[in-house]
Amino acid sequence: MTTLTTPVGAAGPRRRAQRRRRAIAAAFVLPALLLLGALVVYPVLFSVGRSFFDATGTRFAGGENYAEMFRDPATLTAIRNSAIWVVVAPTLLTGLGLVLAVLVEKVRWATAFKLLLFMPMAVSFLAAGIIFRLAYEEDPDKGVLNAAVVGVHDAFTGASSYPSARPRDDQGLREGPDGSYGTAGAVPPGRTVNLGLVGVPPGEVPARAEPASTAEAGPHELRGAVHLDFTPGGGGRPGAIDAAERGLPGLTVEAVRDGRTVATATTAADGSYRFADLPDGSYTIRLPAANFAPPYQGVSWLGPALVTPAIIGAYLWIWTGFAMVLIGAGLSSLPRDALEAARMDGASEWQVFRRITVPLLAPVLTVVFVTLVINVMKVFDLIYIIAPGPVQQDATVLATQMWLVSFGGGNDQGLGSALGVLLLLLVVPAMVFNVRRFRRSQS
C-alpha cells in the first residue's frame, strides 16, 4: 500500500537525499582528485606517450628511446650505478641497523644514541651533500677524512719530512738514480761528514730543530750533521755550518759500503748523526729517497673510481638511524622469554643473535630492505651535490641521468621520458610489497 501511494513523495526525498550525500562526498574528495588528475595522472600518461617520440617530439620513434637507453654509454653507466646503489646501500644499511639496534639495547644511553643517529634524517640532502663535500675534501689539511687516513698512514710508515730539500750543486752530494743523495767520495771511519741541504722553506723546518752542531769523530766512527745550509739574511758559507744554521732532525742517514747499507741512523734535533763501531773500510754517506718523497696525500674520494662508494657513505650517514630505529621497534616486540631461556641454557650472545634474534626479525628486516630500495632508487640530490662537475658522469644514476638528459643540456625529452618510465616501472614491485604490508599492519 505505502509503496503504491508514495512513489513520488518518498522516492523524491530519498533520491534528493542521496544526491545531497553524493554532492557532499564530492566536495570532500574532488579538490584532491582534481589535483591528482592534472598533476600526477596526466603527466604519467604524457610521459609514457612522450617516451615513444624522438628528441624534438615531432616524430614517432617506437621503442627507439628504450633501445637507446641500453646503447648510450652514459645511460648504461647510470643503469650500472643504480644497480650498485640498489644492492649495496640497502644491504649495508640493514646490516648496520641490525647490529646497532641489538647493541644499543645493552647500554644506558640508548635514547641519546638513537636520537643522534636519527638526526640526519631531518637534514636535507643538500646540507648533507655540503657536509660531505667538506669531509671528502682531498687536501689532507682540509678534509677530515683524508686527514685521518694520512695520520694513520704516516703513523705506520713514518712521514717523510723534507719533500723539497736538495743539496747545493758542487758541495759533495750527488743525486742517485732512485732519488737519494749520497756523498761523491768514500771516507774511512774517523771522519766528520757534514751534509748541507737547501730548499727547505722556513715553515717546514720542525720546531724542535736546534742550531746544527757536531762533535769530532772518534777513530771507529763516522759522524756529522745534516744542516740547512742557508743563513737567513745571508752571509753564510756554502758547505759549512754557520752560526745561524739549524740542523734538520728526523732524517734517515745510511752508511754504505760496496753498495750495501751497513748502518742506519736518524738525525737528532741538532741534525747530528753518528755511526759507531764501523769496521775499517771506506763508506759513502747516503740520505735515502724516502726522506724526500712527496708526502702521502690520502685518498681521492671524489675521483672517478671512488665517487659512488663515497656518496653511498654519505647516504649511510643519513639512513642508518632509520634502519636502526625500525629494526629496534621490531626487536622490542620479540618474545623476551625465548631470548632469556636461550641465555639461561648457556647460549652465547652470538648464538642468541644468530639463531634466535635474526630469524625472528626476518620480516622486519625485509620491510627495512624494501623501503630502502624504493628510496635508493630515487636518490638524486646527494649525487647532484657531492659529485664534482667533471666526475658527475661517473657518479650518475637513473634519477640524475633522467635530469641531465631532459634538462641538463641533453635536451632529449624523448629519452628523458623513457628513463622516467623505467624508474617508475622499477619502483612498482617494491611499492606493491610495501603497500600490502602497510595495510596488513593497519588492519
Binding site: 562526498a25 591528482l36 598533476l39 638526526m119 646540507a127 624504493i374
Partner: protein, 307 residues
C-alpha cells in the same frame, strides 16, 4: 609488527637474577666475559656516535671560521684556538639579499604546502573512509597506486602545463606540484587512520543530527590528531628539504634556500664561508622540529618511508 607485546625494559646488568630459579649452570668466567663484552660494546657505540657527529661538527666549525682560515687549514685546527671563531659569516649571510629571500621562499613554499596537503588529504581521507559514493573503493585504490609515481616522471609534463598556465617559475607552481605529489601518501595514511575510528562513534554523532562537516571538524579531526601531526611534520620536512622540484619549477626570484645554495656548490672550495653557514641555516629548522616533536617526527618519517 601488529602484535606489539609490551616489552619489559632492557635487562639491566646490575639487576639481581630472579630468586625463584636455581642458579643456572654458567660457564666459569662468563660474568667477567660479559662485563668485558659490555665495555667493548660501549666503546664501539661511542666510536660510532663520534663518527656520526664529526661531519656536523665540521660543518658548524667551518661556518664559524673566516674564509682565509678555511682556505689555510682544516676545521679541526679551530679546536686549538676557539678564539678565532666568530659569527661574522652569519652576519654576512643575513645581509645577503639572495640568501634571505631564498630563506623566506623556503618558508613560503613549505608552510602552504603542508597546510594544503593535510587539509585536502584529511577531507579526502574522511570521504574514502566513511562517505558513500559510487566507485569509492576503486578510486581509493587508484590513488594508492599513484604512490609509485616518482617525482621525476612529473617534471617534464607539468613544466609544460605550468608554462601554459603562467605558473612556471612561481611559488604557487612549486606549491601545487608538491601538494599533488604529497597527496597519494597523505590520503593513504589518513584514510587508514580514520577507518579505525569506531563506527558507533560516528553513528552516534550522526544520530545527534551532526552534518558531515560538523562530524569532520568536531570528531574526526580531533581523533585523528596524532596522524595529522605526523603527516604534517613529514610533509613539512619533505618540502623544506626538497631541491629537485624547486630546481626546475622555481626561478631566481622564487627559489628556496636549497636551490640558491646548490648554485654555489659548483665553485666549492672558495666559498665555504657562504656554503657552510647557509647549509647550517637550512638544516637548523628541521633539526629543531626534530628535537621539539621527536615522537611525531619519528612516526612521520617511519610512515612516510613507504613513499
Amino acid at each position: 609488527m601488529s602484535a606489539t607485546v609490551t616489552a619489559p625494559p632492557p635487562s639491566q646488568p646490575s639487576a639481581p637474577p630472579p630468586p625463584v630459579r636455581p642458579a643456572p649452570a654458567r660457564r666459569p668466567g662468563g660474568r667477567l666475559r660479559r662485563l668485558l663484552g659490555h665495555g667493548v660494546v660501549q666503546a664501539f657505540l661511542a666510536v660510532v656516535g663520534l663518527v656520526w657527529i664529526t661531519p656536523v661538527a665540521g660543518l658548524l666549525l667551518s661556518s664559524l671560521r673566516s674564509a682565509n682560515d678555511n682556505a689555510a687549514s682544516g676545521w679541526w685546527t679551530a679546536l686549538a684556538e676557539p678564539g678565532r671563531l666568530s659569527f661574522d659569516n652569519y652576519t654576512a649571510l643575513l645581509g645577503n639579499a639572495g640568501i634571505t629571500r631564498a630563506f623566506w621562499n623556503t618558508v613560503l613554499i613549505s608552510v602552504p604546502t603542508t597546510v594544503l596537503v593535510v587539509v585536502l588529504a584529511a577531507l579526502a581521507g574522511y570521504a574514502f573512509a566513511w562517505l558513500e559514493f559510487p566507485g569509492r573503493d576503486w578510486i581509493f585504490l587508484a590513488v594508492v597506486a599513484l604512490l609509485v609515481v616518482p617525482v621525476q616522471v612529473g617534471l617534464l609534463p607539468v613544466a609544460k602545463l605550468f608554462g601554459q598556465l603562467g605558473l612556471f617559475g612561481t611559488i604557487p607552481g612549486v606549491v601545487l606540484f608538491h601538494v599533488a605529489y604529497g597527496l597519494p601518501f597523505a590520503i593513504f595514511l589518513l584514510r587508514n587512520y580514520f577507518a579505525d575510528i569506531p563506527r558507533e562513534m560516528l553513528e552516534a554523532a550522526r544520530m545527534d543530527g551532526g552534518g558531515e562537516w560538523r562530524i569532520f571538524t568536531r570528531l574526526v579531526l580531533p581523533v585523528g590528531r596524532p596522524a595529522l601531526a605526523s603527516l604534517a611534520i613529514f610533509q613539512f620536512l619533505w618540502v623544506w628539504n626538497d631541491m629537485l622540484v624547486a630546481l626546475l619549477f622555481a626561478d631566481s626570484s622564487s627559489q628556496p634556500l636549497t636551490v640558491e645554495l646548490q648554485s654555489q656548490v659548483r665553485q666549492f672550495g672558495s666559498n665555504i664561508d657562504v656554503l657552510a653557514p647557509g647549509a647550517f641555516l637550512s638544516l637548523i629548522v628541521p633539526v629543531v622540529v626534530f628535537f621539539a616533536f621527536q615522537r611525531h617526527f619519528v612516526q612521520g618519517v617511519m610512515a612516510g618511508s613507504v613513499k
